[in-house]
């Protein structure tokens, strides 16, 4: 029985710059149910972070939410007054950001920063909050939590800082946690640990999560459903297994193709997506992806498609759809980013072992 926590309806967030209006979020509709983890995927600049910031009404100048509704448990966030939104932030919905180094105040103790997240909402007294900080740090597996509480951010390692951010986000037991690229700024070994941690926390606490990332592997590990964004719009949405098995939008397909997969036959080559993300000041007509699409047809260049049902709970925004593309065209489009030799060498490497990251530094 999925209880919908968050319902975003036709959200438009625009930036009014001296050079024109940038439609960063251009009609996004999505929802997150209690306890589930939703992945939001796309390249940098596709609007995923802005969508998240819009949910918390933290859109920076010169941006504004221009239309749409954001319903959390039925209440419209866009219509809340200052005091209501302040109570809402960090409490009902919490957000953790991409770069833990710059996201923490460098001149304030880490423990205090977590503490103030709690005291801001009158749910915990100062004394209680202080105690809880240590508990929280322990829960996110920060070693020597009691002494670490008095440290400053620069004394923490990257992974530990991100754990501290997670602790801060979860401190008020929010119903929904939005995580914006939580592992991007960390190195690979630490990434695995953080992913493990998040899985665990999701199990233990039942917090719903909206995971924003461009890393498909992360989505595969953590999410039940995924939403793919491009140029401020959703281009595909559906359950993770389905999307991974049969992506219908060429962009989704290209994203999946551009990641080497352990389970795939070695002969499949990596695909790189040509071109640059569209200039949101001057977007292309028709389908916004068409200049870079390997399967573009004439209709794509003039008419923008709507989101259509393409499977059970799966929607996509495309005139062509992958299932209609001929096999030989798909093969031809799989352009190799590797040379022949490198591909041969890759074949010789045994598949990696994915083990449990050990806790700790």
């Amino acid at each position: 029985m999925a209880q919908t926590l968050l319902q975003v309806e036709d959200l438009h967030t625009q930036f009014f710059t001296s050079r024109g209006v940038v439609r960063a979020v251009d009609g996004v509709t999505l929802h997150v149910d209690a306890g589930e983890t939703l992945g939001v995927v796309g390249e940098s600049g596709c609007g995923k972070t802005m969508t998240a910031l819009s949910i918390l009404r933290l859109v920076p100048d010169p941006g504004k939410i221009t239309s749409g509704r954001i319903l959390f448990r039925g209440r419209d966030v866009t219509k809340m007054d200052d005091e209501e939104i302040r109570e809402f932030r960090g409490n009902d919905v919490a957000m953790i950001f991409q770069d833990p180094m710059t996201s923490l105040n460098p001149v304030t103790k880490v423990g205090f920063q977590i503490e103030e997240a709690m005291t801001a909402h009158d749910r915990f007294t100062e004394k209680l909050a202080k105690g809880r900080v240590v508990e929280l740090l322990k829960r996110v597996r920060v070693p020597a939590a009691e002494t670490r509480v008095k440290d400053y951010p620069h004394q923490f390692s990257g992974g530990m800082r991100q754990r501290a951010m997670i602790a801060m986000g979860l401190s008020n037991e929010p119903a929904l946690l939005i995580a914006d690229e939580p592992t991007t700024a960390l190195d690979v070994t630490v990434q695995a640990q953080i992913i493990q941690l998040m899985k665990q926390l999701n199990r233990e606490l039942g917090t719903a999560m909206m995971l924003i990332t461009h890393n498909m592997a992360l989505v595969a590990s953590l999410c039940q459903r995924v939403v793919v964004m491009y140029a401020g719009r959703i281009v595909e949405e559906g359950p993770v297994e389905q999307i991974f098995k049969s992506p219908q939008h060429p962009y989704t397909w290209s994203l999946l193709r551009s990641v080497p997969r352990v389970d795939e036959a070695r002969k499949d080559r990596l695909v790189s997506i040509k071109g640059l993300p569209p200039d949101l000041l001057n977007p292309p007509p028709g389908c916004k992806f068409h200049p870079r699409c390997p399967f573009v047809i004439d209709r794509c260049k003039v008419e923008e498609p709507e989101l259509e049902e393409v499977g059970l709970n799966q929607t996509a925004r495309c005139w062509v759809l992958m299932r209609n593309v001929k096999e030989e065209d798909i093969d031809a489009a799989k352009q190799s980013a590797l040379s022949r030799d490198a591909a041969q060498k890759l074949k010789a490497v045994p598949p990696a072992e994915v083990g449990d990251g050990s806790a700790g530094r």
Partner: protein, 308 residues
């Protein structure tokens, strides 16, 4: 490369061009109205200054064009006159044309202010580069030296220096130069240090690039921006110092009409005719303001973080 049906090898639209840092900066500078206004005024001042001194007759070009009078010619009959057509800014206590003197004074302020920056660049730049490049004991030594210079209240040293070598254009020039290089030295040193640590420089050193090449290819383009900004802000500071010195009676001596001298003269007669203080005062303020606006504009235009 395999080609496929529908492979969009060509992109139909124009991807915005990546412009270089300098063109980008110029565009941004142009958008800053204050900076442009400042630049315009400075250009006008340079023309005025040149015209006031060339040809080398009193009053220069402007006198020849009958736009103004002779800055040195006294006329005891017509002292402290109010502005008239013949003397648009009136006359001073010795009957000299104030406008001519103000125009002449621009040449003094501008030349000291701008040219001294070269001296500052030379001293500060070398010290900073040497400290940053060689590091270690040389760095320590040089930094100690700059600390000493820093502890000196600069006006004090300038006063003593000018008193020592007599008040003349050159002594003031050198005095300002040797007291104001510390900021630039620190800036340059910081730039050198931060660039030294970049990997591509380490790579270049390891492959045996000569230091000169390193400086030219890596150091200069990166540090040019902040250095230019610093020097631009140094100009009004130098102008201020010269004016202050002259005002205190230790700088340029009359009858040379530096603005500071004019203000000093005007101070004596302030209750009789305040315009003697007002005109040169506004001149100095406007000049310093223009350079400040230009400096602000440059700094914002060259700030790499502002590139979206």
């Amino acid at each position: 490369m395999a080609s496929a049906v529908g492979v969009a090898a060509q992109v139909d639209w124009d991807v915005p061009e990546q412009t270089g840092l300098w063109q980008d900066a110029w565009v941004r500078f142009r958008r800053n109205k204050l900076a442009v206004a400042g630049l315009t005024l400075v250009v006008a001042l340079v023309i005025i200054a040149l015209g006031a001194r060339l040809p080398a007759t009193p009053g220069g070009l402007w006198k020849i064009l009958h736009l103004t009078g002779d800055p040195f010619q006294q006329n005891v009959i017509n002292t402290l006159a109010a502005p008239t057509f013949q003397h648009p800014m009136g006359t001073d206590i010795l009957g000299r044309d104030v406008l001519a003197r103000v125009l002449y004074g621009s040449s003094i302020s501008l030349s000291i202010g701008i040219i001294v920056q070269f001296l500052i660049l030379t001293i500060g730049g070398s010290v900073g580069m040497a400290a940053g490049y060689f590091g270690g004991r040389m760095d320590n030594l040089l930094m100690r030296f700059t600390d000493i210079m820093y502890a000196f209240p600069d006006l004090l040293l300038v006063l003593v220096f000018v008193a020592a070598f007599g008040p003349s254009f050159w002594s003031i020039f050198i005095a300002i130069g040797i007291t104001n290089w510390v900021g630039l030295a620190r800036l340059v040193r910081g730039q050198v240090l931060s660039i030294k640590e970049k990997e591509y420089v380490e790579a270049a050193i390891m492959t045996g690039s000569s230091p000169i090449k390193l400086i030219l290819k890596h150091l200069l383009p990166n540090s040019l921006g902040p250095v230019i900004v610093s020097l631009t802000f140094g100009i009004p500071a130098a102008i201020f110092t010269e004016a202050a010195l002259s005002f205190l009676g230790i700088g340029i001596r009359p009858p040379e009409p530096s603005w500071g001298v004019m203000i000093e003269d005007g101070y004596a007669a302030i209750f009789a005719d305040p315009s003697l203080v007002i005109f040169p005062g506004i001149a100095v303020a406007l000049t310093m303001l223009s350079f400040t606006f230009i400096g602000d504009g440059l700094r914002d235009a060259l700030d790499p973080r502002m590139r979206r």
